[in-house]
């Protein structure tokens, strides 16, 4: 089942006299997110990430294309019955306590009565605000506000959770707790749509990632797919490469670079990789490890954005 599906989605903001100034926040954006995944949307500032979430939650209307969440058109109010949202820079009324925030916003998500009471207690404990439940929100720190926002987003036990910079202002321990919480939600079949600048965190928990720039989808795939750079492999060896191996490799036009105890080689196929391994074995070179070269998500992201800027 698809939690999110968009087809040729576009959004153009107009401003100025007679709408002469136009900004294309999203262009022909098609994306599908399966249920039960942690899906992250990455992109530089102004890439259109928040616009995309806002269209999905009907806070902003698309100018073209279509979008559904949980099999409902995004304009349908029912689409939001089983969704939760933690907006960036959310503002809760300062005169309410943490518990009052949940008890006030719960009924807006159709959660009332004893269920609301029990969820309020459970969620405040889950996000580590149990001891702060009766303290006014205006006294909360940024990190505590994020935790409260997270609890508020989960008050209706949503099937689809949108989180815009959920760990913003949260300390490292808190971030780890939030990551665990999201993983736990995933095991319960929930879909999490994450919008974050912290790429290392995204890398740790996401099943799939989409990279967006200037309103266009550049790449989408698993973290593995996005962080693997071609067929470059590192082969760890023990000892020195014999001259005979070098000569044979040169004769077979196999290019490699060597640094201390490893070879880095670009191979066209797995068969080529195996042929190289055979060659090393023939020359009695002990192989310690073989690993496909991968970059971090941040490196992949930056190189993709740089390529986009250059083109």
């Amino acid at each position: 089942m698809l939690a999110i599906s968009t087809s040729h989605l576009s959004k153009t903001y107009t401003s100025g006299f007679r709408g002469k100034r136009q900004v294309n926040a999203l262009q022909d954006f098609s994306l599908e997110v399966e249920s039960g995944q942690i899906f992250s949307l990455l992109g530089p500032n102004g890439a259109g990430k928040t616009t995309f979430i806002k269209i999905l939650l009907s806070l902003t209307r698309q100018t073209g294309g279509s979008a559904t969440i949980l099999d409902h058109d995004v304009s349908d109010v029912q689409a939001r019955v089983k969704t939760g949202y933690l907006p960036e820079n959310h503002r809760y009324p300062g005169y309410l306590t943490g518990e009052q925030v949940l008890r006030s916003f719960g009924p807006l998500s159709e959660v009332t009565g004893p269920l609301l009471q029990s969820r309020t207690t459970t969620l405040l404990e889950l996000v580590g605000l149990k001891d702060w439940r009766n303290v006014k929100v205006k006294k909360y720190s940024k990190g505590m506000m994020q935790r409260l926002g997270l609890a508020q987003a989960m008050i209706n036990d949503p099937d689809l959770l949108f989180l815009d910079e959920p760990t913003d202002g949260v300390d490292p321990v808190g971030r780890a707790e939030i990551r665990d919480l999201l993983r736990n939600l995933k095991t319960r079949g929930k879909t999490i749509f994450l919008n974050s600048h912290l790429l290392s965190e995204v890398e740790m928990i996401s099943d799939r990632v989409a990279i967006l720039d200037k309103g266009q989808l550049l790449r989408v795939g698993t973290v593995d797919e996005l962080t693997t750079s071609g067929e470059r492999h590192h082969i760890g060896i023990d000892g020195v490469l014999p001259e005979a191996f070098r000569l044979e490799a040169a004769a077979k036009v196999i290019e490699f670079s060597q640094s201390q105890s490893s070879l880095t080689v670009d191979v066209g196929s797995i068969a080529e990789l195996n042929a190289l391994i055979d060659m090393l074995r023939r020359h009695h070179v002990p192989i310690v490890s073989i690993a496909k070269e991968r970059s971090t998500l941040e490196e992949s992201f930056l190189s993709l954005i740089k390529r986009e800027v250059a083109s």
Binding site: L59, P87, R91, P93, P107, E110
Partner: protein, 276 residues
């Protein structure tokens, strides 16, 4: 249920703001003053009003005294209406712009509520706060007049509904302006401009705006504007008749209801089309 939750949230918000509490405090002071100062005295020749134990009216028959008390009630209600307009608008004008602020509106609209529901919830929340304030004052005044003059006149309680209705009509304009401008200060300035300049000019157009030109098209436009807005002055005059136990003119109330509905509907349509 969602509408009730919105009303409750709005009431909490207004309770957290000092202005609505100040309004209740002012009402309390006026009521206490009235209770301390006002009384009636029966003499062999008739009855008279007393202020702080001093004679404040000639001795008159009971019927005449009742009329005088009703006039006082009408004056009190008129004063309350002015107070409610001044303080009530000031206290509640921020309710809708605050809800539409970035960071807050996202929280509301990401819930399964329609935009018109959000507007209606906020509108009704402000209205309930004003209703409670007016009711508090009117019940207090009713009790004072009842206990001190033995005049248990239900008209004064009915005035609660009349004053709240007039406020509701005016607040529909505030709601419209709040969605249009998303700015509390601008909404207050514009509604006060209507209330103290445009409204009275339109109400007294024959003595004011008609003097500018005799052109029938111009005068029709002026008339059109008069009927577009709620007829507060006409309602106020009619409301005073209610307190004097005279027959009320319902026409300005019906026209104002239509006008307020148009303003509210206009605000809801604008809100529906807005991107956040």
């Amino acid at each position: 249920m969602k509408l009730l939750a919105l009303i409750r949230l709005t009431l909490r918000e207004l309770a957290a703001k000092a202005t609505i509490i100040i309004l209740a405090a002012i009402s309390t002071i006026v009521l206490l003053g009235l209770a301390a100062a006002f009384s009636t005295n029966v003499t062999p020749d008739g009855m008279m009003l007393q202020l702080f134990g001093q004679q404040a009216s000639p001795v008159m028959p009971e019927e005449q005294l009742i009329t005088a008390i009703r006039s006082m009630q009408a004056g009190l209600a008129g004063g309350l209406f002015t107070g409610i307009i001044l303080f009530g608008i000031f206290a509640t004008a921020g309710v809708i712009p605050d809800a539409l602020e970035k960071g807050t509106v996202d929280l509301y609209l990401s819930k399964p509520i329609a935009r018109w529901e959000l507007l209606l919830g906020k509108y009704l929340g402000a209205l309930v706060a004003i209703f409670v304030n007016v009711l508090y004052f009117m019940v207090g005044a009713w009790l004072i007049f009842g206990l001190k003059c033995h005049l248990w006149d239900f008209q004064i309680l009915l005035a609660t509904l009349t004053i709240t209705f007039m406020f509701a009509c005016l607040y529909a304009i505030v709601a419209f302006l709040a969605v249009l401008t998303r700015n509390t200060a601008v909404s207050i300035i514009l509604v006060y401009l209507y209330l103290f300049v445009v409204g009275p000019l339109l109400h007294n157009r024959e003595a004011t705006l008609y003097l500018i030109s005799e052109n029938t098209v111009y005068r029709s436009i002026v008339d059109g504007f008069y009927y577009v807005f709620p007829q507060l002055d006409a309602m106020r005059a009619s409301g005073a008749k209610q307190l004097l136990a005279q027959e009320m003119d319902w026409k300005p109330f019906v026209q104002s209801l239509l006008s307020a509905s148009v303003f509210f509907f206009g605000g809801a349509v604008m809100l529906k089309r807005r991107d956040f």
